[in-house]
């Protein structure tokens, strides 16, 4: 490198700054373009069905005037909310207790093995999880788990009569729970590790058992972070398309029993988009995408808002 004049380095500065700025702008433009495209794509369906689309359970590509189809988004919307809520109900307590185990209970070497293994669970591609769910998990669930729940908890309408295939909202929720578990586990482990040593020592000096330490100190200190992790995991569950499409069964009616086939917004997009027959169907699928985007963005913004509002570093400062 020869001697540089200030003019040259001024140019270099301008180039690097320009590149960095345009990369940042590109990301913002991409996100805006994505939102714009999905919304405009749905405009035809919005003109035809309006907001009633959201509460209409019919999805029939050949019905209606001149067979252009009648579409509504209630069934997949319901399926998305039910499967994601059930998945979160399973994954949140299990994930938090895994986080506790890794941060507090496991001896160092064990934690260093199990931690990466659980993160590896997150690295398994969704299509493989879904294929495994379809071939291995669904038959097992329909033969063992669903009859068990039906026999013992059948008085709860959610646990209706099991179907033969095992492709159901319930299996979908289990698959989602497996997929979001590592997110909850690794975030809550990191949270528990940030609880200051002094607070734990103080509780222990007062004679607290480990469980009382967890309940009285660690959980309250990490509550906001765990809520944020839960919303983040919920966002992931809402948007998972392939694995759910493989096991959820593609049902077309709103069902109370989790053991019946259902459908979710993302799964219906994955299964019907490639084979959509009419413009109105494509536009209705865009409408589903808008619904998914709104719920998903809400969950993610909620997670971001909580973690900013209850900033952990500020809390302990």
């Amino acid at each position: 490198m020869g001697k540089k004049t200030s003019k040259q380095s001024g140019l270099g500065d301008k180039v690097v700054f320009g590149l960095a700025l345009s990369a940042a702008l590109l990301a913002i433009v991409t996100l805006l373009a994505l939102g714009y495209q999905v919304v405009t794509g749905s405009s035809e369906a919005f003109d035809v069905f309006g907001l009633a689309f959201i509460t209409d359970p019919v999805w029939n590509p050949t019905a209606g005037v001149n067979g252009s189809g009648v579409f509504g988004g209630l069934v997949p919307l319901y399926g998305t909310l039910v499967t994601s809520a059930a998945a979160l109900a399973i994954a949140l307590p299990v994930g938090v207790s895994i986080g506790l185990y890794l941060s507090d209970l496991a001896p160092g070497p064990v934690s260093r093995v199990i931690g990466p293994l659980i993160e590896l669970l997150a690295a398994v591609p969704s299509v493989i999880v879904g294929f495994w769910g379809l071939i291995i998990l669904a038959p097992w669930v329909s033969r063992n788990l669903e009859p068990f729940l039906y026999d013992h908890f059948g008085f709860i309408p959610l646990f209706g009569e099991p179907q033969t295939t095992g492709s159901s909202l319930f299996t979908g929720a289990l698959i989602l729970a497996i997929m979001i578990l590592p997110i909850v586990a690794s975030i809550s482990r990191d949270l528990f590790l940030t609880v200051p040593r002094e607070m734990k020592d103080g509780a222990e000096a007062l004679g607290a058992t480990h469980w009382e330490l967890v309940r009285g100190v660690e959980l309250p200190a990490c509550a906001a972070g765990i809520a944020s992790a839960g919303l983040l995991a919920l966002g992931r569950a809402l948007g998972e398309a392939i694995a759910v499409a493989q096991v959820v069964g593609g049902g077309s009616i709103v069902v109370t029993s989790l053991f019946m086939p259902g459908d979710t917004l993302a799964a219906r997009l994955a299964t019907q988009f490639p084979g959509a027959v009419s413009d109105l169907q494509v536009s209705s699928l865009y409408y589903l995408a808008v619904m998914l985007l709104v719920i998903g963005v809400a969950a993610n913004l909620g997670a971001a808002w909580i973690s900013r509002r209850f900033d952990i570093t500020r809390k302990f400062a």
Partner: protein
Amino acid sequence: MSNVGGPNSAGFAIDELHEFPFDPGSPLVASGNLRRRMVINRIAQAGATIGAFSAVLVLGIMIYAVVSRGAGAITWEFLTKGPEDNGIGPSIVGTVIITMVATAIATPIAVLMAIYTTEYASERLGAIVRLTLDMMNGLPTIIVGIFIYGLIVAGRHQSGIAAAIALAVIMLPMIARTTQESLLLVPSALREGAEALGVARWRVITGAILPTVGGAILTAVVLASARAAGETAPQVLVNLVAPNEYVFNPFAETAMPNIPVTIYQLSEAADPTGFERAWGSALTLLTLILIANVVARALYERSRRKLESR
């Protein structure tokens, strides 16, 4: 508090504790029933341990299923021949090419973006860019697929490049966030020292800062490409109908065969004869991803050691 007044496990009277000015109702107040507390403690600890091991068990069952059912399918022909000969050679090549192109697109943009937020942006703009990254990170991948479908595929044709761009959009926030976090960890002495010597800003960034975080960026890139390689949802929309032969050009006017879509199609076909090929494909994909994860972990350890030895 049934046993108020009695000595508790810590050996001091509970009345004494009640005279404390702060939070007498806190759950930390000893109940005086040590046995019961220890039992509850034991149950809670056992529960957490079972939780952790059941997650590992699920992973074990899944990997066992893939290995035991897929291993039989793996032969040299399977890995190199096309679908007519029961092979997945074209899918392997397609996945590698698509992932490499996606990585080549996403990495420079992501690194530049991270540099912008940490080195140049005002607080306000930096916050906007970070929010954008958070939202991109949370986007359902199927919606990224719809976006790229509308942008590139609609009215034209499916292609490998469309898949690569969709995967790049998914990888972008992953790489950018890790890079950003490691850039913030760079000691300010490094920056200040270089600037005090009169080195231009861009030379400080390219010559002093980026090399220190190179290892962290590389780790993030490898992890993000492993994620992208297994990503199916966007490819189902923009790269689905592929020919049964090798496609090497991502700009060709045809979709590129790739492993995730192959597994998805075989599993949806409900034809059990295709399942063995699907398990074999799953094992191949999982092996590739596993290797990438091990490499990433090794890179991470190495770069951490390097940073610590400073």
